[in-house]
Symmetry: C2
Subunit: 570 residues, 2 copies
């Protein structure tokens, strides 16, 4: 719609595409709910008058509400390709997300981010990208790529890239690491997201002074208050793992709420279906006492304003026609969802395409040279060994010391004491790197589990009772081009292929959930005592989180940030 | 301060310039008032910690508050050169203004706007410019310049130019006038200010759809509510003439206040001194019941956010150190004012320079070819005449019909019935154009008044009892290079030179006020009954305002938008 058409349509001199009549508008700009008509043309709101339109919809008093925006998430956590992700969140009222493709970037670098950008173009929701700032996330494992400032400059002219994604490397900021500062300089004047759990005082002031504008890691009210006072936008997170709404909501008042908005960060497939996306946060916030207008502002308008998305988050002339029709405002029951004026979901049913454009092929991942990875046995060259101690339901671990079980001068799994062998096999460059260690807490009595989802570099991580089953499982991962599997006595008994970077499925969410259920059930059948074995497994290589972790480069002491010997006396 | 210096200073590794201790911060971001320290380096806020600084100021509990911003004004109304304007508003806490140089642009075109931009560079406050959209304001008088879209493109790369100034020509928008649309297209994606008194319904929707984002002309609550609902920012104006705060304040609520802010539009020298600039609106709003935090947000933060001035309107790391020190928050008593970390005013006293840079010379104006303007007599060729009827204190006029007083076949002033001769003499191009008419309501018994301030084209406007005195006064205006004067019996008895475009003085505000007082007193001594004769005179050529006006092109019927004969029966 050009300028003349906009004016002529508003004046009724040319027809609109769509006219809603007898609506109650949740007007987040005037802070009211008021009866009105509303017209749309070419995906843009025209006005609130009853003008000529090709189609008229009588809303009979139902509510019109701007579409919801997720201000920070990692799409990869959904394990879904973008069209399928969109198909599942659009019916829940999400019409835009701001994604940090951190996981795929660590696997596939620029090519991974480019794949997300290309797939996003046809999606049923708007997908904006923040350029991942920390690839690799740490120097302590082999990632698929390294992105320096020069690499990232390629995204400066990309319309869907809004800024620099969460700067997790806050020590790098404080110590003025040249590469970190180069990235901050590159994105100067654009949005730069933060990630600074617990940062405070002069360190926080320095982090904010560097131009970092938001934080989604506030776990405590005082922490969030300090950040808000310093001008950071507070992204209130309700993800699958971290849930901060109830803690942080008391911070929000009538003078500062514009600086707070909702994000999910990481949401697993089951939570997307059973709990819900941004709408779940809106409902919970209203239940906790937030006024619906404020909750809806925090689910879109505030987010859009922070990211400079000037036509999103509200419904008024010139804004995008990303519209929700609500039956009930307090319970936020969504009957219709429009993106750019097009009906994309009705009564929870998605009406768009679930497949990506044929033109966009997922890049290959999972390169392992098995000739270099023949033998994963561990020689018993020392005395007692360090063992990773799983803490159920958490991503931190204990650092234990145990006597090894030795067979034929090799240290092997000891199911009696639940000490299992774990390996991390580098899968990006065919280096043949294998890290070997032992872990307590999985409870497997037989078989092995393996996965290509292992934060942050996503090498192949496997745990099991025998080397044969471990290797069979790992090889199945490579054969699938990435995924998750359970092996018993040499047989694949459950599997979930994740051909997109070894992180995401090309199947529907129902298939993914069924496979996840099968994987979990199979592991439990073999004795695994964990609620969610593959989720736990995925964090066992994450070096920034204490205390003991394993990467393809070896056992890692996350308290003192150094590699450490398997043998406690070494 | 580069990135490394910012980080190092916040960490205390390099000294700040200035540290405020024992302050109470009016934190418009977190919506609180909280005790804190605050440091500044190179004009930018560093943090809230007690770090090393070259100078420390113990505030003993006084308040720190962000500097005030005037979101829309015409500097020319102050009749002061920019340094003198800044010298008078800075001590009142104004640290930035967004100016539409509409008046000087109508006199001097691009050269006038360029003069404002250049003078603004050295000013003690930040002066941002909106490119004047309506030059000339109407086709019904001769202006000094015509600015089309191509001319205005020269300002797109000017850092101090934020967008397109008030689009007063709303009929041009609605009728899709190509020149108006070209200007809107030129500034697409930037801020475009509106001016649409009374516009409503589909016309307003069309105006907003054209990308116009604000309005400062709301005189009624319902009018402002409709505009706010459509997404316009509501500039709540308290100027010398129009005062809308009390009417509009009931609109402001906790969900929409971010979309409202304060402007003055036009403020005369006396009001700047006696009433005050933005601070006066803040005080009045607080008296009317607005919470000080919200009032202060509406005096800066909201304004800055609308204009994309991301480092203004709040005090937090990375924000400009435009700081007010307040003794009392409710009464907003300002003891110190800092701009970019530099103390510019203390206890009401300005500490900076009052003169413009020597390098910036005001361009010349007032070109009249007196050979072409010899005779301003009006022949009595018809019967009764149309007479402009002054409505005291307003800018509208009545359209009266009176019998003329005729002497020697010429129509002359008739002091018995208070019907005086008025002329408008073109002063930009030496055309010799003179518009002649008659006006009732000035009350002069002798002499003449003349002025080069006559909205919107600012030709010379004069009213008087004899042609000789009228011409003497008009010639004195030209001799001064613009200004205001009172003549009695051929003698100049009061004068105010306005050498800057015939609109602004090069003197201090005290001199300007004294001259204005003398002019008014002289006029009253000669019988003038108007409270403010020169203000009234300045609106008598303003064709958009009904009912009867006079321009250099003749008598104008502002109800039917056409020139009209002096003679009622013609």
């Amino acid at each position: 719609m050009n300028l003349t058409q906009k004016i002529r349509t508003a004046l009724g001199e040319e027809p609109a595409d769509l006219l809603f009549e007898n609506a109650n508008l949740v007007n987040v700009l005037s802070g009211e709910i008021h009866p009105t008509a509303m017209s749309v043309r070419d995906g843009v709101i025209v006005g609130f008058n009853k003008i000529t339109a090709k189609e008229t919809i009588d809303l009979k008093g139902r509510f019109l509400c701007p579409g919801f925006i997720d201000g920070h998430l990692h799409l990869e956590s959904s394990m879904l390709a973008i069209p399928e992700f969109a198909a599942n969140v659009a019916p829940q009222g999400t019409t835009a997300v701001v994604a940090d493709p951190h996981e795929i970037a660590n696997v596939l670098g620029l090519e991974g981010i480019r794949y997300i950008i290309e797939t996003a173009k046809d999606a049923a929701i708007r997908i904006y990208i923040m350029a991942s700032s920390c690839v690799p996330a740490t120097p302590f494992e082999t990632s698929g790529a390294t992105l320096n400032a020069e690499d990232m400059a390629t995204f400066l002219d990309e319309p869907s890239v809004l800024g620099l994604a969460e700067v997790m490397n806050y020590p790098g900021v404080l110590f003025q690491d040249p590469d970190v500062l180069a990235k901050l300089r590159l994105f100067k004047g654009r949005v730069i997201d933060g990630h600074a759990p617990g940062l405070s005082g002069i360190s926080l002031a320095a982090y904010v002074s560097a131009g970092i504008g938001s934080d989604h890691e506030c776990a405590y009210l005082d922490e969030a208050r300090e950040k808000l006072r310093l001008g950071m936008k507070i992204m209130i997170r309700e993800g699958s793992a971290a849930k901060n709404l109830e803690t942080l909501l008391p911070l929000v008042n009538e003078y500062n709420s514009r600086n707070c908005f909702f994000v999910t960060d990481d949401l697993e497939p089951n939570d997307i279906v059973e709990r819900g996306h941004i709408v779940a946060i809106v409902r919970k916030a209203i239940r906790l006492g937030l006024h619906p207008i404020r909750a809806i502002q925090m689910a879109g308008l505030n987010t859009a304003q922070y990211f400079g998305l000037t036509t999103l988050g509200a419904l008024a002339p010139g804004y995008a026609a990303d519209i929700l029709v609500l039956d009930d405002l307090e319970r936020v029951t969504i009957t219709q969802v429009y993106k750019a004026g097009r009906l994309v979901a009705e009564n929870g049913r998605f009406l768009g395409l679930r497949s990506p454009s044929e033109a966009v092929k997922p890049p290959m991942s999972c390169r392992v040279d098995w000739d270099k990875v023949k033998d994963i046995s561990v020689k018993a060259t020392g005395g007692s060994i360090r063992v990773i101690g799983v803490v159920p339901g958490q991503i931190i671990t204990e650092s234990l010391v145990e006597e090894p079980k030795v067979v034929d001068s090799k240290i092997v799994s000891d199911t009696d004491r639940d000490i299992l062998k774990m390996v991390v096999i580098e899968r990006h460059k065919g280096t043949g790197n294998v890290g070997e260690g032992f872990i307590k807490g999985f409870g497997l009595k037989e078989g092995a589990l393996a996965s290509s989802v292992a934060h942050d570099s996503h090498n192949i991580i496997a745990v099991g009772v025998t080397d044969d089953d471990i290797l069979t499982a790992a090889k199945e991962i490579v054969a699938m081009g990435g995924g998750m599997t359970v092996v018993r006595s040499g047989e694949i008994i459950a599997r979930l292929p994740l051909p997109i970077a070894g992180l995401m499925s090309d199947q529907g969410i129902d298939e993914v959930r069924a496979s996840l259920h099968d994987l979990s059930a199979a592991a439990k059948e073999m004795g695994c005592s964990l609620e969610n074995p593959f989720a736990t497994l995925s964090f066992m290589a994450l070096t920034p989180i204490p205390k003991l972790k394993l990467t393809d480069l070896g056992l890692f002491d996350s308290e003192h940030f150094r590699f450490i010997s398997l043998f406690a006396d070494a």
